[in-house]
Symmetry: C2
Subunit: 206 residues, 2 copies
DNA sequence: ATCATATGTTATCGTTATTAACATCACGCC
DNA sequence: GGCGTGATGTTAATAACGATAACATATGAT
């Protein structure tokens, strides 16, 4: 049922198709691609793609996986560059998220489309879960360094941080962030928001 | 060029079509509707719709306007029920946003699709701007009541509050909020986030 | 060598968005 | 009251789309 790594004498069509689709998405500015165009770019007939993907949505799901890997790698690179347990690391992870949303705009939008069948969505959710473990680890380290004797949930803190970064990123993605005030800057907004959450977490006594 | 209020002896097709589209979207669970289905539901041929909408995207834009009006009315109802200048009002506006995202799921998703041409998007941005003035007013009142002698920007505060509510709403919309921890609750997360922002705003000295 | 299977092709189908050509109805003008 | 003009509807057509069936070919195990 899965021919994930199966090659073929004409080439590795599955991966070729995914990359072709990703390039088309990256160029077009949106994610409305056609099987026909992907096939043409891969130098193959439209029907050939159906040997590797159940339907168009399955192809898009594969592209989403690729996009998610790209995002995860960026986040891991940030984590490797900064000291664990610091506020700066958490801020920079958020900034990285914003930058991905900006310079890989199509991919970011694609990641949050709500399409696909239940099975495809379940797999995607799992992939995202894996991807965002970087953030959970950062939250754990921060709490361990700053509030070692308390039981604040790192997952809960990570979810809060993800929410604010995601909110700013999606509003910016829709060019809604500065409709009230043109001087508003996404990165500064995120730094302030992150700081507010962390301060609030440290202040909370239980 | 605009036949917004033009009736016809066969009926008010423009509004009929918008409502038909909205109903289809509400039922289908996504926003992949076809002109053919909308026309069928309106009891009219497909081509007839093109007398009232430039293209499919223009019809969807009209549905988005309708959805936005619905959201705005809910927010205004909340504002009317609570005392201006209170944290509770701000929290309840956010909760209202979350609830709209949940029980009008398709409409909420539709609102943040990035499709349509520049002109359509500009109009939508303007409509959203109008809609969210309720939040700005709440932020102004809050600052006026709690920090009258300071120059914290109410627009900036409103944008922060919108970001956190929007982030939680969109993650929940994608069923991503509880993938780390099933006990996480969107409403509680929003109340905590709102409180963190307001506290941070009051604490900031300049 | 053979043959099952994986992988490709072409031909086709039903659906879609959109447009052109034509039809009809409402309503102002003489 | 007839008449025509424009707004609004129809049918028919086109091109692109996703998807599938029938057929073709190359691989690799036996």
């Amino acid at each position: 049922m899965n021919e994930i790594t199966t090659p073929y004498h004409h080439g590795d069509l599955r991966n070729t198709a995914i990359i072709a689709a990703a390039e088309l998405i990256d160029q077009s500015g949106n994610y409305e691609i056609s099987i026909a165009n992907v096939a043409k770019r891969a130098g193959v007939s439209s029907a050939a793609l159906y040997r590797h993907f159940e339907d168009k949505e399955a192809l898009l799901t594969a592209v989403r996986e690729l996009a998610l890997i790209g995002l995860m790698q960026r986040l891991e690179a940030i984590a490797a560059q900064h000291e664990q347990g610091t506020q700066l690391l958490i801020e920079e992870l958020g900034i990285c998220y914003l930058q991905f949303a900006e310079d890989k705009r199509s991919f970011f939008g694609l990641l949050w489309e709500d399409r696909g069948n239940m099975e495809q969505r379940r797999l995607e959710a799992q992939a995202k879960r894996t991807g965002f473990e970087v953030l959970i680890k950062a939250a754990e380290s921060y709490l361990c360094a700053h509030k070692p004797d308390n039981d604040v949930s790192p997952v809960r803190l990570a979810t809060q941080l993800w929410s604010i970064a995601h909110g700013i990123a999606t509003l910016e993605h829709n060019r809604m962030l500065d409709i009230f005030d043109e001087t508003i800057n996404a990165e500064q907004l995120l730094r302030d928001g992150t700081q507010a959450f962390l301060r609030n977490t440290l202040d909370s006594s239980s």
